[in-house]
């Protein structure tokens, strides 16, 4: 039985510093402040098959609530420079962010493709080009600034993921946050890291560590983003696909909109989670710590004590 995800996000008031161009930046900023309800279909054509989901989006007053047909009862609040995740009322993780920079300064060239009609409304179409390759097509509602359709592209200029609204209601919705903003444990933002500051055009923006010792670093090129996790134990990835890349063994899981690669080094478990197209993920993986067999004793020790 599939349980619903209720994801509540209070969008942090951050200037849209993505530097895609004045007009597009203005539209995106307007979209952050818009009030609307929508149903969005996410459909991704991955090497492991099609992954799709239906997501309901409600946004008002800078607060965003997502309800998906695809996951557990998890709630997320993001805002005031931090975020928290709760599940069934219990704290799962939290962290703070001092200024959400976009990363990947000016890595994208924006091509305006003119006005189009979408859901019976006027919209503007844009093409994001990275390193000379078209990487995303955005269709933005002209009145609200909301991205009503986003198509990300493979290196072969084929559709990787498509996110498109199938309905849009600009009436202000009512958001039920279920009181999850009551979490008051201090966030843990890690200041130092041995990870590279830049990987293939992706800038290291910030990094976190939770109480269980899970560390993760967040990278972004201004549009696509990924997180690199270092975990004290191996990540459980049921129904994953074993893949070999540059003589390293990984396990891979695609979901609608994200892919996760999991592997082990001698010192920790590793995972890379991101919304990049497959070729960009592989480019990033090549610059990350490579898989190593931790050995029987280390596996045993991690299983017992973490």
């Amino acid at each position: 039985m599939r349980r619903l995800l209720s994801l509540v996000a209070v969008l942090v008031v951050v200037p849209a510093t993505a530097a895609f161009g004045a007009e597009l930046d203005e539209l995106l900023e307007r979209g952050h402040e818009a009030s609307y309800s929508a149903e969005q279909i996410i459909s991704c054509s991955t090497p492991d098959g099609v992954r799709d989901a239906l997501v309901r989006i409600d946004q008002v007053g800078g607060e965003l609530q997502l309800t998906s047909n695809a996951t557990d009862d998890v709630e997320v609040i993001a805002g005031d420079g931090g975020w928290t995740i709760t599940s069934d009322g219990g704290l799962v993780a939290q962290a703070s962010v001092d200024g959400a920079e976009s990363g990947g300064d000016e890595i994208y060239v924006v091509e305006e493709e003119g006005a189009v009609e979408y859901l019976g409304r006027v919209a503007m179409a844009y093409l994001l080009v990275r390193d000379g390759e078209p990487r995303a097509e955005l269709t933005i509602d002209d009145e609200t600034g909301v991205v009503v359709k986003a198509v990300t592209l493979t290196i072969d200029n084929e559709t990787y993921c498509e996110r498109r609204f199938v309905s849009l209601d600009t009436e202000a919705p009512v958001i039920d946050k279920n009181g999850v903003d009551g979490v008051d444990n201090p966030p843990t933002l890690v200041e130092t890291s041995s990870l590279p500051e830049e990987v293939s055009g992706f800038d290291l923006l910030d990094q976190y560590e939770d109480e269980s010792g899970v560390r993760f670093a967040y990278y972004s090129d201004g549009f696509f983003s990924f997180a690199l996790f270092e975990t004290p134990t191996a990540v459980a990835v049921p129904d994953s696909t074993p893949v070999e890349f540059e003589s390293g063994n990984y396990r891979r899981v695609f979901t609608a909109g994200q892919v996760t690669y999991v592997w082990e080094t001698r010192d920790s478990g590793m995972a890379l989670v991101g919304d990049l197209p497959p070729d960009l993920h592989e480019t990033v993986l090549a610059e990350m710590p490579h898989p190593e067999d931790p050995g029987l004793f280390r596996r045993w020790w991690r299983a017992l004590f973490g």
């Binding site: 849209a16 557990d72 976009s102 909301v146 976190y208 979901t255 996760t260 004590f305």
Partner: protein, 135 residues
């Protein structure tokens, strides 16, 4: 007549006391042979004790060099005890230590999804569905 040769030897070794010593003294006073044996035995002992103590040259006794002989039996025993103690300690720690929380894919994706909401361009263009949880 029985001559108490062993008692004479014991007497010279200082091992006769009480009635045994009295009886030997009585016998020696009446037996010339035993008195002669006693004198001869005392002479021999005195002569042996008066000999000088000789130290052999080291070259003649190479095998006599002091050798540290490992107590293999004891060392092996203690190594076994130590190994058993370590195993027992680890086993005990494994029992009393709560098993590490399993890190799920959903947890990782949730954290990434939450962090992504802070991206300036976050919005419908960045929404991802989290993994399906089957019950």
């Amino acid at each position: 007549m029985i001559h108490p040769t062993e008692q004479i030897s014991a007497y010279l070794d200082g091992e006769l006391h009480g009635q045994e010593l009295t009886r030997l003294m009585d016998h020696l006073s009446r037996c010339g042979r035993c008195s002669a044996d006693l004198e001869q035995m005392q002479f021999v002992r005195s002569a042996v004790r008066s000999l000088p103590v000789l130290e052999l040259p080291e070259a003649l006794i190479p095998e006599a060099e002091p050798v540290v002989v490992p107590l293999r039996r004891h060392k092996g025993m203690w190594a076994g005890v130590a190994a058993a103690a370590v195993v027992a300690a680890v086993a005990l720690a494994a029992i009393v230590t709560p098993p590490p929380d399993e890190i799920s894919l959903q947890q990782l994706n949730s954290m990434v999804g939450a962090r992504s909401t802070l991206d300036p361009v976050f919005g419908p263009a960045k929404v991802s569905a989290f993994p399906v949880v089957e019950e």
